[in-house]
Subunit: 246 residues, 2 copies
DNA sequence: ACATCCTTTCCATAATATGGAAAAAGTCTT
DNA sequence: AAGACTTTTTCCATATTATGGAAAGGATGT
Protein backbone atom coordinates (compact mmCIF):
# COMPACT_ATOMS: atom_id res chain seq x y z
CA UNK A 1 0.00 0.00 0.00
CA UNK A 2 1.36 3.37 -0.91
CA UNK A 3 1.58 6.59 1.06
CA UNK A 4 -1.41 8.68 0.07
CA UNK A 5 0.11 12.12 0.42
CA UNK A 6 3.14 11.10 -1.64
CA UNK A 7 0.90 9.74 -4.39
CA UNK A 8 -1.07 12.97 -4.33
CA UNK A 9 2.06 15.08 -4.51
CA UNK A 10 3.20 13.15 -7.58
CA UNK A 11 -0.27 13.69 -9.08
CA UNK A 12 0.21 17.41 -8.61
CA UNK A 13 3.68 17.43 -10.15
CA UNK A 14 2.42 15.45 -13.14
CA UNK A 15 -0.58 17.74 -13.53
CA UNK A 16 1.85 20.67 -13.71
CA UNK A 17 4.08 18.84 -16.19
CA UNK A 18 1.08 17.97 -18.37
CA UNK A 19 0.22 21.64 -18.62
CA UNK A 20 3.58 22.81 -19.76
CA UNK A 21 4.92 23.24 -16.25
CA UNK A 22 2.58 25.98 -15.02
CA UNK A 23 -1.02 26.03 -13.73
CA UNK A 24 -3.35 27.66 -11.26
CA UNK A 25 -4.60 25.86 -8.18
CA UNK A 26 -8.06 25.35 -9.63
CA UNK A 27 -6.57 23.86 -12.83
CA UNK A 28 -4.60 21.39 -10.72
CA UNK A 29 -7.80 20.62 -8.79
CA UNK A 30 -9.63 19.91 -12.05
CA UNK A 31 -6.95 17.45 -13.15
CA UNK A 32 -6.29 15.70 -9.86
CA UNK A 33 -9.76 15.87 -8.28
CA UNK A 34 -8.16 16.82 -4.98
CA UNK A 35 -9.67 19.41 -2.58
CA UNK A 36 -8.19 22.93 -2.70
CA UNK A 37 -6.93 22.79 0.87
CA UNK A 38 -5.12 19.53 0.28
CA UNK A 39 -3.48 20.75 -2.92
CA UNK A 40 -2.46 23.98 -1.25
CA UNK A 41 -0.81 22.24 1.64
CA UNK A 42 1.11 19.84 -0.57
CA UNK A 43 2.19 22.69 -2.85
CA UNK A 44 3.53 24.61 0.14
CA UNK A 45 5.75 21.68 0.99
CA UNK A 46 7.12 21.56 -2.55
CA UNK A 47 7.48 25.34 -2.59
CA UNK A 48 9.62 25.36 0.53
CA UNK A 49 12.14 23.13 -1.19
CA UNK A 50 12.19 24.63 -4.63
CA UNK A 51 10.35 21.81 -6.37
CA UNK A 52 7.60 24.22 -7.26
CA UNK A 53 7.53 27.97 -7.36
CA UNK A 54 4.75 30.53 -7.40
CA UNK A 55 4.51 33.16 -10.09
CA UNK A 56 3.47 36.72 -9.43
CA UNK A 57 -0.05 35.90 -10.66
CA UNK A 58 -0.30 33.22 -7.96
CA UNK A 59 -0.06 30.39 -10.48
CA UNK A 60 2.31 27.57 -9.66
CA UNK A 61 5.19 26.25 -11.77
CA UNK A 62 7.59 23.35 -11.59
CA UNK A 63 10.75 24.49 -9.82
CA UNK A 64 14.45 24.21 -10.34
CA UNK A 65 15.03 21.47 -7.78
CA UNK A 66 13.52 19.02 -10.23
CA UNK A 67 16.17 19.81 -12.82
CA UNK A 68 19.08 18.31 -10.92
CA UNK A 69 17.24 15.16 -9.96
CA UNK A 70 15.92 14.85 -13.50
CA UNK A 71 19.43 15.10 -14.90
CA UNK A 72 20.77 12.42 -12.58
CA UNK A 73 17.85 10.21 -13.56
CA UNK A 74 18.43 10.88 -17.25
CA UNK A 75 22.04 9.73 -17.01
CA UNK A 76 20.91 6.51 -15.39
CA UNK A 77 18.19 5.90 -17.96
CA UNK A 78 20.71 6.39 -20.74
CA UNK A 79 22.84 3.69 -19.15
CA UNK A 80 19.93 1.29 -18.84
CA UNK A 81 19.07 1.78 -22.48
CA UNK A 82 22.38 0.38 -23.70
CA UNK A 83 21.64 -3.33 -23.31
CA UNK A 84 18.39 -2.80 -25.22
CA UNK A 85 20.11 -0.78 -27.93
CA UNK A 86 22.67 -3.58 -28.14
CA UNK A 87 19.83 -6.01 -28.84
CA UNK A 88 18.62 -3.71 -31.58
CA UNK A 89 22.08 -3.69 -33.14
CA UNK A 90 22.11 -7.50 -33.01
CA UNK A 91 18.67 -7.68 -34.58
CA UNK A 92 19.35 -5.26 -37.41
CA UNK A 93 23.11 -5.12 -37.78
CA UNK A 94 22.89 -1.32 -37.72
CA UNK A 95 23.65 1.49 -35.26
CA UNK A 96 20.92 1.97 -32.63
CA UNK A 97 20.04 5.26 -30.94
CA UNK A 98 17.71 6.58 -28.30
CA UNK A 99 16.42 10.14 -28.44
CA UNK A 100 14.06 12.37 -26.50
CA UNK A 101 12.35 15.69 -27.18
CA UNK A 102 13.84 18.69 -25.47
CA UNK A 103 11.67 21.64 -26.30
CA UNK A 104 11.09 21.47 -30.03
CA UNK A 105 14.26 19.48 -30.70
CA UNK A 106 15.18 15.82 -30.86
CA UNK A 107 18.24 15.08 -28.71
CA UNK A 108 20.19 11.84 -28.91
CA UNK A 109 20.80 10.55 -25.41
CA UNK A 110 22.23 7.06 -25.96
CA UNK A 111 23.82 5.07 -28.76
CA UNK A 112 25.28 1.66 -29.54
CA UNK A 113 27.19 1.64 -32.83
CA UNK A 114 27.03 -1.11 -35.42
CA UNK A 115 30.13 -3.34 -35.56
CA UNK A 116 30.33 -2.79 -39.31
CA UNK A 117 33.05 -0.56 -40.72
CA UNK A 118 30.48 1.47 -42.64
CA UNK A 119 28.14 2.67 -39.93
CA UNK A 120 25.94 5.57 -38.86
CA UNK A 121 27.12 7.83 -36.09
CA UNK A 122 25.02 10.43 -34.26
CA UNK A 123 26.85 12.21 -31.50
CA UNK A 124 25.14 11.79 -28.14
CA UNK A 125 23.87 15.22 -27.19
CA UNK A 126 23.30 16.24 -30.80
CA UNK A 127 20.11 18.16 -31.42
CA UNK A 128 18.14 17.98 -34.63
CA UNK A 129 14.74 19.11 -35.84
CA UNK A 130 12.05 16.46 -35.51
CA UNK A 131 10.40 16.70 -38.95
CA UNK A 132 13.15 14.97 -40.91
CA UNK A 133 14.07 12.20 -38.45
CA UNK A 134 12.35 8.94 -37.71
CA UNK A 135 12.60 9.40 -33.94
CA UNK A 136 11.22 12.91 -34.30
CA UNK A 137 8.18 11.57 -36.08
CA UNK A 138 7.67 8.87 -33.46
CA UNK A 139 7.85 11.43 -30.68
CA UNK A 140 5.53 13.91 -32.33
CA UNK A 141 3.04 11.29 -33.43
CA UNK A 142 2.03 11.08 -29.77
CA UNK A 143 1.72 14.82 -29.37
CA UNK A 144 -1.49 16.76 -29.84
CA UNK A 145 0.54 19.89 -30.53
CA UNK A 146 2.65 18.50 -33.36
CA UNK A 147 1.29 21.10 -35.78
CA UNK A 148 2.28 23.87 -33.39
CA UNK A 149 5.78 22.44 -33.06
CA UNK A 150 6.14 22.36 -36.85
CA UNK A 151 4.84 25.93 -36.93
CA UNK A 152 7.64 27.02 -34.61
CA UNK A 153 10.48 25.01 -36.08
CA UNK A 154 9.55 25.27 -39.72
CA UNK A 155 10.19 22.35 -42.08
CA UNK A 156 13.56 23.18 -43.59
CA UNK A 157 14.66 21.02 -46.50
CA UNK A 158 17.60 18.82 -45.55
CA UNK A 159 17.63 16.68 -48.71
CA UNK A 160 15.48 16.29 -51.80
CA UNK A 161 13.45 13.73 -49.83
CA UNK A 162 12.61 15.96 -46.86
CA UNK A 163 8.87 16.37 -46.34
CA UNK A 164 8.32 20.13 -46.33
CA UNK A 165 4.54 20.21 -46.68
CA UNK A 166 2.91 20.34 -43.24
CA UNK A 167 -0.29 18.55 -44.30
CA UNK A 168 1.70 15.69 -45.77
CA UNK A 169 3.79 15.49 -42.65
CA UNK A 170 0.78 15.45 -40.30
CA UNK A 171 -0.72 12.71 -42.47
CA UNK A 172 2.56 10.85 -42.10
CA UNK A 173 2.24 11.10 -38.29
CA UNK A 174 -1.20 9.49 -38.52
CA UNK A 175 0.42 6.61 -40.39
CA UNK A 176 3.17 6.39 -37.76
CA UNK A 177 0.60 6.14 -35.01
CA UNK A 178 -1.33 3.49 -36.85
CA UNK A 179 1.51 1.18 -37.76
CA UNK A 180 3.62 1.81 -34.68
CA UNK A 181 6.89 2.89 -36.30
CA UNK A 182 8.37 5.73 -38.35
CA UNK A 183 10.79 5.81 -41.27
CA UNK A 184 13.30 8.37 -42.43
CA UNK A 185 13.98 7.61 -46.10
CA UNK A 186 16.91 9.92 -46.72
CA UNK A 187 14.99 12.91 -45.39
CA UNK A 188 17.62 14.01 -42.92
CA UNK A 189 20.67 12.78 -44.81
CA UNK A 190 20.95 11.45 -48.36
CA UNK A 191 21.60 7.74 -48.59
CA UNK A 192 20.69 7.06 -44.97
CA UNK A 193 17.53 5.26 -43.90
CA UNK A 194 16.24 4.98 -40.40
CA UNK A 195 13.45 3.11 -38.61
CA UNK A 196 12.24 4.28 -35.18
CA UNK A 197 9.83 2.94 -32.57
CA UNK A 198 8.32 4.59 -29.48
CA UNK A 199 9.27 4.04 -25.84
CA UNK A 200 6.27 4.54 -23.59
CA UNK A 201 5.93 5.07 -19.85
CA UNK A 202 2.50 3.53 -20.01
CA UNK A 203 0.71 6.82 -20.67
CA UNK A 204 2.70 8.64 -23.27
CA UNK A 205 5.73 8.34 -25.53
CA UNK A 206 8.77 9.52 -23.60
CA UNK A 207 11.56 8.48 -25.97
CA UNK A 208 12.24 6.97 -29.34
CA UNK A 209 14.61 4.19 -30.27
CA UNK A 210 15.89 3.73 -33.79
CA UNK A 211 18.28 1.87 -36.06
CA UNK A 212 19.90 3.56 -39.01
CA UNK A 213 22.36 2.78 -41.77
CA UNK A 214 22.94 2.99 -45.51
CA UNK A 215 19.71 3.09 -47.49
CA UNK A 216 20.30 -0.15 -49.39
CA UNK A 217 21.08 -2.16 -46.26
CA UNK A 218 18.01 -0.85 -44.42
CA UNK A 219 15.83 -1.42 -47.49
CA UNK A 220 17.02 -5.03 -47.70
CA UNK A 221 15.59 -5.75 -44.26
CA UNK A 222 12.00 -6.89 -43.78
CA UNK A 223 10.62 -3.62 -42.48
CA UNK A 224 7.52 -4.82 -40.62
CA UNK A 225 9.34 -7.75 -39.09
CA UNK A 226 12.18 -5.53 -37.94
CA UNK A 227 9.72 -2.98 -36.55
CA UNK A 228 7.97 -5.70 -34.58
CA UNK A 229 11.23 -6.89 -33.05
CA UNK A 230 12.29 -3.33 -32.21
CA UNK A 231 8.91 -2.56 -30.67
CA UNK A 232 9.23 -5.56 -28.37
CA UNK A 233 12.68 -4.44 -27.22
CA UNK A 234 11.50 -0.84 -26.74
CA UNK A 235 8.52 -2.03 -24.76
CA UNK A 236 10.71 -4.11 -22.45
CA UNK A 237 12.95 -1.12 -21.91
CA UNK A 238 9.99 1.14 -21.17
CA UNK A 239 8.83 -1.24 -18.48
CA UNK A 240 12.27 -1.34 -16.91
CA UNK A 241 13.02 2.38 -17.03
CA UNK A 242 9.61 3.92 -16.50
CA UNK A 243 7.63 1.35 -14.64
CA UNK A 244 4.48 -0.32 -15.85
CA UNK A 245 2.57 2.95 -15.57
CA UNK A 246 -0.46 3.56 -13.38
CA UNK B 1 3.72 23.73 8.09
CA UNK B 2 4.77 21.19 5.55
CA UNK B 3 3.60 17.64 4.99
CA UNK B 4 6.08 15.38 6.71
CA UNK B 5 5.88 12.40 4.41
CA UNK B 6 6.37 14.61 1.35
CA UNK B 7 9.43 16.23 2.93
CA UNK B 8 10.79 12.80 3.72
CA UNK B 9 10.19 11.53 0.22
CA UNK B 10 12.11 14.50 -1.18
CA UNK B 11 14.91 13.73 1.31
CA UNK B 12 15.07 10.22 -0.11
CA UNK B 13 15.13 11.39 -3.72
CA UNK B 14 17.89 13.88 -2.91
CA UNK B 15 19.87 11.24 -1.04
CA UNK B 16 19.72 9.09 -4.17
CA UNK B 17 20.71 12.00 -6.42
CA UNK B 18 23.64 12.84 -4.13
CA UNK B 19 24.94 9.32 -4.55
CA UNK B 20 24.92 9.28 -8.29
CA UNK B 21 21.36 8.11 -8.54
CA UNK B 22 21.71 4.71 -6.86
CA UNK B 23 21.95 3.53 -3.23
CA UNK B 24 20.95 0.77 -0.86
CA UNK B 25 18.28 1.24 1.76
CA UNK B 26 20.78 1.44 4.60
CA UNK B 27 22.81 4.09 2.71
CA UNK B 28 19.64 6.17 2.34
CA UNK B 29 18.97 5.64 6.05
CA UNK B 30 22.44 6.89 6.91
CA UNK B 31 21.92 10.06 4.91
CA UNK B 32 18.34 10.84 5.87
CA UNK B 33 18.27 9.49 9.44
CA UNK B 34 14.89 7.96 8.73
CA UNK B 35 13.83 4.51 10.04
CA UNK B 36 14.10 1.59 7.62
CA UNK B 37 10.39 0.89 7.65
CA UNK B 38 9.55 4.46 6.81
CA UNK B 39 12.04 4.63 3.96
CA UNK B 40 10.82 1.33 2.61
CA UNK B 41 7.19 2.42 2.57
CA UNK B 42 8.00 5.71 0.86
CA UNK B 43 10.22 3.99 -1.70
CA UNK B 44 7.41 1.55 -2.56
CA UNK B 45 5.19 4.51 -3.38
CA UNK B 46 7.83 5.97 -5.68
CA UNK B 47 8.51 2.53 -7.17
CA UNK B 48 4.88 2.01 -8.11
CA UNK B 49 4.99 5.13 -10.26
CA UNK B 50 8.39 4.80 -11.84
CA UNK B 51 10.06 7.57 -9.85
CA UNK B 52 12.42 5.03 -8.40
CA UNK B 53 13.32 1.54 -9.50
CA UNK B 54 14.95 -1.39 -7.81
CA UNK B 55 18.01 -3.07 -9.25
CA UNK B 56 18.55 -6.80 -9.18
CA UNK B 57 20.84 -6.39 -6.15
CA UNK B 58 17.95 -4.76 -4.28
CA UNK B 59 19.55 -1.34 -4.40
CA UNK B 60 17.32 1.54 -5.40
CA UNK B 61 17.84 4.00 -8.25
CA UNK B 62 16.16 7.15 -9.49
CA UNK B 63 13.62 6.19 -12.13
CA UNK B 64 12.58 7.39 -15.53
CA UNK B 65 9.47 9.28 -14.39
CA UNK B 66 11.74 11.99 -13.06
CA UNK B 67 13.20 12.60 -16.50
CA UNK B 68 10.06 14.00 -18.06
CA UNK B 69 9.24 16.28 -15.14
CA UNK B 70 12.89 17.36 -14.97
CA UNK B 71 12.83 18.29 -18.65
CA UNK B 72 9.66 20.34 -18.32
CA UNK B 73 11.22 22.10 -15.32
CA UNK B 74 14.46 22.72 -17.22
CA UNK B 75 12.60 24.45 -20.04
CA UNK B 76 10.90 26.72 -17.53
CA UNK B 77 14.14 27.52 -15.72
CA UNK B 78 15.75 28.45 -19.02
CA UNK B 79 12.94 30.90 -19.59
CA UNK B 80 13.29 32.44 -16.14
CA UNK B 81 17.00 32.93 -16.69
CA UNK B 82 16.49 35.29 -19.62
CA UNK B 83 15.65 38.46 -17.65
CA UNK B 84 18.74 37.87 -15.52
CA UNK B 85 20.92 37.21 -18.56
CA UNK B 86 19.52 40.42 -20.04
CA UNK B 87 20.75 42.27 -16.97
CA UNK B 88 24.17 40.73 -17.49
CA UNK B 89 24.20 41.96 -21.10
CA UNK B 90 23.27 45.45 -19.88
CA UNK B 91 26.00 45.36 -17.26
CA UNK B 92 28.77 44.13 -19.54
CA UNK B 93 27.66 44.93 -23.04
CA UNK B 94 28.47 41.36 -24.03
CA UNK B 95 26.55 38.17 -24.81
CA UNK B 96 25.38 36.32 -21.68
CA UNK B 97 24.90 32.54 -21.39
CA UNK B 98 23.73 30.00 -18.88
CA UNK B 99 25.11 26.46 -18.90
CA UNK B 100 24.77 23.28 -16.87
CA UNK B 101 26.74 20.07 -16.63
CA UNK B 102 25.23 17.08 -18.34
CA UNK B 103 27.43 14.13 -17.58
CA UNK B 104 30.98 15.33 -18.26
CA UNK B 105 29.92 18.05 -20.67
CA UNK B 106 28.94 21.69 -20.38
CA UNK B 107 25.65 22.37 -22.18
CA UNK B 108 24.41 25.86 -22.97
CA UNK B 109 20.74 26.09 -22.00
CA UNK B 110 19.95 29.80 -22.32
CA UNK B 111 21.42 32.86 -24.00
CA UNK B 112 20.83 36.57 -24.48
CA UNK B 113 23.02 38.03 -27.23
CA UNK B 114 24.82 41.34 -27.04
CA UNK B 115 23.25 44.13 -29.15
CA UNK B 116 26.64 44.81 -30.71
CA UNK B 117 27.27 43.78 -34.28
CA UNK B 118 30.43 41.94 -33.25
CA UNK B 119 29.23 39.48 -30.67
CA UNK B 120 29.73 36.01 -29.32
CA UNK B 121 27.26 33.31 -30.17
CA UNK B 122 26.98 29.86 -28.57
CA UNK B 123 24.15 27.72 -29.88
CA UNK B 124 21.72 26.72 -27.13
CA UNK B 125 22.11 22.98 -26.78
CA UNK B 126 25.76 23.02 -27.76
CA UNK B 127 27.99 20.76 -25.72
CA UNK B 128 31.60 21.51 -24.92
CA UNK B 129 34.26 20.11 -22.62
CA UNK B 130 34.48 21.88 -19.27
CA UNK B 131 38.27 22.36 -18.99
CA UNK B 132 38.54 25.17 -21.53
CA UNK B 133 35.42 27.17 -20.68
CA UNK B 134 34.75 29.59 -17.87
CA UNK B 135 31.37 28.04 -17.03
CA UNK B 136 32.98 24.61 -17.03
CA UNK B 137 35.51 25.74 -14.46
CA UNK B 138 32.80 27.32 -12.32
CA UNK B 139 30.75 24.12 -12.40
CA UNK B 140 33.68 21.83 -11.64
CA UNK B 141 35.10 24.07 -8.93
CA UNK B 142 32.19 22.91 -6.80
CA UNK B 143 32.73 19.25 -7.58
CA UNK B 144 34.84 16.93 -5.49
CA UNK B 145 35.30 14.67 -8.50
CA UNK B 146 36.71 17.29 -10.86
CA UNK B 147 39.96 15.33 -11.25
CA UNK B 148 37.98 12.24 -12.25
CA UNK B 149 36.02 14.23 -14.81
CA UNK B 150 39.25 15.55 -16.33
CA UNK B 151 40.56 12.00 -16.31
CA UNK B 152 37.61 10.86 -18.41
CA UNK B 153 37.38 13.79 -20.79
CA UNK B 154 41.07 14.48 -21.20
CA UNK B 155 42.31 18.06 -21.60
CA UNK B 156 42.49 18.48 -25.35
CA UNK B 157 44.24 21.63 -26.57
CA UNK B 158 41.76 23.99 -28.19
CA UNK B 159 44.12 26.98 -28.58
CA UNK B 160 47.66 27.83 -27.53
CA UNK B 161 46.19 29.14 -24.27
CA UNK B 162 44.33 26.00 -23.28
CA UNK B 163 45.43 24.63 -19.91
CA UNK B 164 46.40 21.03 -20.60
CA UNK B 165 48.23 20.24 -17.36
CA UNK B 166 45.83 18.71 -14.87
CA UNK B 167 47.64 20.00 -11.76
CA UNK B 168 47.62 23.52 -13.11
CA UNK B 169 43.94 23.20 -13.91
CA UNK B 170 43.01 21.86 -10.47
CA UNK B 171 44.97 24.74 -8.94
CA UNK B 172 42.97 27.07 -11.17
CA UNK B 173 39.74 25.58 -9.74
CA UNK B 174 40.96 26.40 -6.22
CA UNK B 175 41.40 29.99 -7.36
CA UNK B 176 37.92 29.97 -8.90
CA UNK B 177 36.43 28.78 -5.65
CA UNK B 178 38.29 31.42 -3.67
CA UNK B 179 37.51 34.43 -5.76
CA UNK B 180 34.04 33.37 -6.86
CA UNK B 181 34.41 33.57 -10.64
CA UNK B 182 36.25 31.90 -13.51
CA UNK B 183 37.93 33.26 -16.62
CA UNK B 184 38.50 31.79 -20.07
CA UNK B 185 41.35 33.77 -21.60
CA UNK B 186 41.23 32.46 -25.15
CA UNK B 187 41.41 28.88 -23.94
CA UNK B 188 38.38 27.66 -25.87
CA UNK B 189 38.63 30.04 -28.80
CA UNK B 190 41.41 32.43 -29.76
CA UNK B 191 40.60 36.09 -29.25
CA UNK B 192 37.56 35.37 -27.06
CA UNK B 193 37.50 36.03 -23.33
CA UNK B 194 34.79 34.92 -20.97
CA UNK B 195 33.92 35.49 -17.30
CA UNK B 196 31.57 33.09 -15.49
CA UNK B 197 29.91 32.99 -12.07
CA UNK B 198 28.09 30.17 -10.26
CA UNK B 199 24.34 29.75 -9.76
CA UNK B 200 23.61 27.96 -6.51
CA UNK B 201 20.49 26.25 -5.18
CA UNK B 202 21.67 26.98 -1.66
CA UNK B 203 23.66 23.75 -1.34
CA UNK B 204 25.59 23.31 -4.52
CA UNK B 205 26.35 24.91 -7.86
CA UNK B 206 23.65 23.88 -10.33
CA UNK B 207 24.47 26.17 -13.26
CA UNK B 208 26.91 28.77 -14.46
CA UNK B 209 26.22 32.14 -16.00
CA UNK B 210 28.77 33.95 -18.12
CA UNK B 211 29.47 36.88 -20.39
CA UNK B 212 31.82 36.59 -23.32
CA UNK B 213 33.16 38.71 -26.14
CA UNK B 214 36.31 39.80 -27.95
CA UNK B 215 39.39 39.63 -25.74
CA UNK B 216 40.18 43.33 -25.85
CA UNK B 217 36.67 44.40 -24.92
CA UNK B 218 36.48 41.96 -21.98
CA UNK B 219 39.99 42.97 -20.84
CA UNK B 220 38.95 46.61 -20.84
CA UNK B 221 36.29 45.90 -18.22
CA UNK B 222 37.01 46.03 -14.49
CA UNK B 223 37.10 42.31 -13.88
CA UNK B 224 36.41 42.17 -10.13
CA UNK B 225 33.71 44.81 -10.35
CA UNK B 226 32.05 42.99 -13.23
CA UNK B 227 32.28 39.69 -11.37
CA UNK B 228 30.65 41.20 -8.33
CA UNK B 229 27.75 42.53 -10.39
CA UNK B 230 27.31 39.21 -12.17
CA UNK B 231 27.44 37.28 -8.91
CA UNK B 232 24.63 39.41 -7.51
CA UNK B 233 22.45 38.76 -10.57
CA UNK B 234 23.24 35.04 -10.51
CA UNK B 235 22.40 34.88 -6.82
CA UNK B 236 19.05 36.57 -7.38
CA UNK B 237 18.29 34.11 -10.16
CA UNK B 238 19.26 31.15 -7.97
CA UNK B 239 16.83 32.30 -5.32
CA UNK B 240 14.03 32.63 -7.85
CA UNK B 241 14.60 29.40 -9.72
CA UNK B 242 15.81 27.07 -7.00
CA UNK B 243 14.43 28.50 -3.80
CA UNK B 244 16.50 29.70 -0.88
CA UNK B 245 17.64 26.19 -0.05
CA UNK B 246 16.79 24.30 3.11
C1' DA C 1 -18.03 49.73 -5.00
C1' DC C 2 -19.67 45.37 -5.97
C1' DA C 3 -19.87 40.77 -8.02
C1' DT C 4 -17.41 36.91 -9.23
C1' DC C 5 -13.84 33.74 -9.23
C1' DC C 6 -9.73 31.94 -7.36
C1' DT C 7 -6.60 31.16 -3.49
C1' DT C 8 -5.50 30.71 1.30
C1' DT C 9 -6.43 29.71 6.08
C1' DC C 10 -8.43 27.27 9.80
C1' DC C 11 -9.29 23.40 12.90
C1' DA C 12 -12.09 19.24 14.50
C1' DT C 13 -11.40 14.72 13.60
C1' DA C 14 -11.10 10.71 10.67
C1' DA C 15 -7.59 8.31 8.91
C1' DT C 16 -3.05 7.55 8.00
C1' DA C 17 1.97 7.28 8.59
C1' DT C 18 4.86 5.81 11.82
C1' DG C 19 8.75 2.96 13.64
C1' DG C 20 10.45 -0.78 16.54
C1' DA C 21 10.58 -5.53 16.46
C1' DA C 22 10.58 -9.65 14.06
C1' DA C 23 10.95 -12.15 9.87
C1' DA C 24 13.09 -12.83 5.48
C1' DA C 25 16.76 -12.56 2.18
C1' DG C 26 21.40 -12.11 0.55
C1' DT C 27 26.39 -12.28 1.18
C1' DC C 28 30.54 -13.87 3.08
C1' DT C 29 33.37 -17.05 5.58
C1' DT C 30 34.57 -21.49 7.06
C1' DA D 1 26.58 -26.93 3.10
C1' DA D 2 26.07 -24.43 7.26
C1' DG D 3 26.49 -20.60 10.17
C1' DA D 4 27.30 -15.73 11.04
C1' DC D 5 26.41 -11.32 9.76
C1' DT D 6 24.30 -7.56 7.28
C1' DT D 7 20.64 -5.65 4.83
C1' DT D 8 15.90 -5.48 3.50
C1' DT D 9 11.08 -6.37 4.13
C1' DT D 10 6.89 -7.04 6.75
C1' DC D 11 3.77 -6.31 10.43
C1' DC D 12 0.57 -3.82 13.35
C1' DA D 13 -0.69 -1.00 17.63
C1' DT D 14 -1.13 3.66 18.13
C1' DA D 15 0.56 8.29 18.18
C1' DT D 16 0.24 11.76 15.18
C1' DT D 17 -0.77 13.75 11.09
C1' DA D 18 -3.23 14.87 6.82
C1' DT D 19 -7.55 15.85 5.68
C1' DG D 20 -11.23 18.75 3.56
C1' DG D 21 -15.31 21.71 4.04
C1' DA D 22 -16.27 26.18 5.38
C1' DA D 23 -14.91 30.70 5.89
C1' DA D 24 -11.77 34.36 5.02
C1' DG D 25 -8.80 36.79 1.88
C1' DG D 26 -7.22 38.44 -2.65
C1' DA D 27 -7.45 39.56 -7.56
C1' DT D 28 -10.00 40.81 -11.58
C1' DG D 29 -13.64 42.79 -14.29
C1' DT D 30 -17.55 45.81 -14.75
Amino acid sequence: MSVQSVDRTLDILEALADQGGEAGLSEIAARTRLPYGTIHRLLQTLLARGYVRQESDRRYALGGSLVRIGEVAERLVGGWAEPYLTKMVELSGETANMAVLEGDFVVYVAQVPSPRRLRMFAEVGRRVLPHSTAVGKVLLADRADAAAVFGRTGLPRRTEHTITNVDRLLAELVTVRERGYAMDLGEEELGVHCLAVPVSDGDRVVAGMSVSGPADRISALNRDELAQGLRKIAHDFGVEAFGSGR
